[in-house]
Symmetry: C2
Subunit: 214 residues, 2 copies
């Protein structure tokens, strides 16, 4: 706790921000730097607030959760929470088709165009660790918690599913690999859904489920 | 045929090349430009030779086949022919595991490091059409010819397999997505081989195999 916590609606110190827009920008700048330096997991809303010299409540007020703040920093064109709620709502044996439909539907939407530019830029700069962190900590973690059992933590399963989804999105949106790039959503779901389902809940032919842990 | 065809071991015109190294460079430059302008399929050894003002036999002498010339132009660290021969040699029902083992093995080898740099640069520049052409015309075409039937030309099948392989390579080599990135080859083959096998020879749940053709 800092002295700034006494008033959630005002910057902790005055004289630096010209107004709301300046405060919002200062929070974004602080978050961008901290995410880049220590990664998604180790970044806290409180630390970002301290860097931006504002009250943590103000960060929540402007941006919501940490994952929503991250989405704003990398200019994600969509709130990941919306997709994750679809994944939470279906039975385990429909996870594969649901994930394929949600992810491909999202990338095919107008919002997907901005995401393609983001991917290009990240791959170009070799700056993929933050995207991976976010994928592992937020998106895949939610799926992992659904499929984990006493003998299988599900980490390899969600990473394999992510490998197929990444390849599918890149084939459709960056490589324009026909006929996959032109295939209507229902046919993509029929073709790729079973792959993702097997990765998440099927037999992977591993002697020991956790054997791949580094 | 041009007048230059009378002597396969000498440049068609003299006075432009300082020596063998200059000739080789001139062929590479001509090939680079032509591949970029008209794509892999429409580029002929003869056209490249004409652009470089050398005899076509000299292009074959220095570089071998058109695909080997392409590999030299994009500085592919490996001869694709070597991988394709492994694919040709196995029965249909072992294609999945063979392709996963060959592709992952290749990218895990020292030669793979150069390929990672190549992928980064192509994605960054949006310059992926040539890579896609090459993938479709050479690598996937050989596999497609093996699996095509009277009612299914196999194009969707090889593209789906390519989407999984692209995602797997990117997850291991660019995203460093654990535990997929650290998983030993035999476990990768056990996990992903059946996916590629199903894409190539299994049930894809499509009403009509050719329905995805653009």
């Amino acid at each position: 706790m800092t002295a700034a916590d006494s008033d959630g609606a005002r910057p902790a110190r005055s004289g630096r921000r010209p107004g709301q827009s300046g405060t919002r920008e200062a929070i974004l700048a602080a978050a961008r730097e901290r995410f880049a330096q220590v990664g998604f997991d180790k970044t806290s809303i409180r630390a970002v607030a301290a860097d931006a010299e504002v009250d943590p409540a103000l960060v929540h007020h402007y941006f919501g959760t940490k994952q929503q703040l991250f989405a704003a920093v990398v200019e994600l064109p969509v709130d990941p929470e919306v997709v994750l709620r679809q994944v939470d709502a279906v039975p385990l044996d429909r996870l594969g088709e649901t994930i394929v439909a949600a992810v491909v539907g999202l990338w095919d939407s107008p919002a997907g165009a901005g995401a393609v530019a983001l991917v290009r830029s990240m791959v170009a700069n070799g700056d993929t660790s933050l995207a991976r962190d976010f994928l592992l900590s937020v998106v895949l973690e939610r799926v992992r918690q659904r499929i984990a059992t006493d003998t299988d933590d599900g980490r390899l399963r969600v990473a394999l599913a992510a490998s197929q989804m990444a390849g599918l999105v890149i084939s459709r949106k960056i490589l324009d690999l026909r006929p996959v790039s032109g295939l209507p959503l229902p046919q993509i779901v029929a073709a790729v859904g079973p792959t993702v389902q097997r990765y998440l809940t099927g037999d992977l032919g591993q002697d020991s489920p956790g054997a791949g842990e580094p």
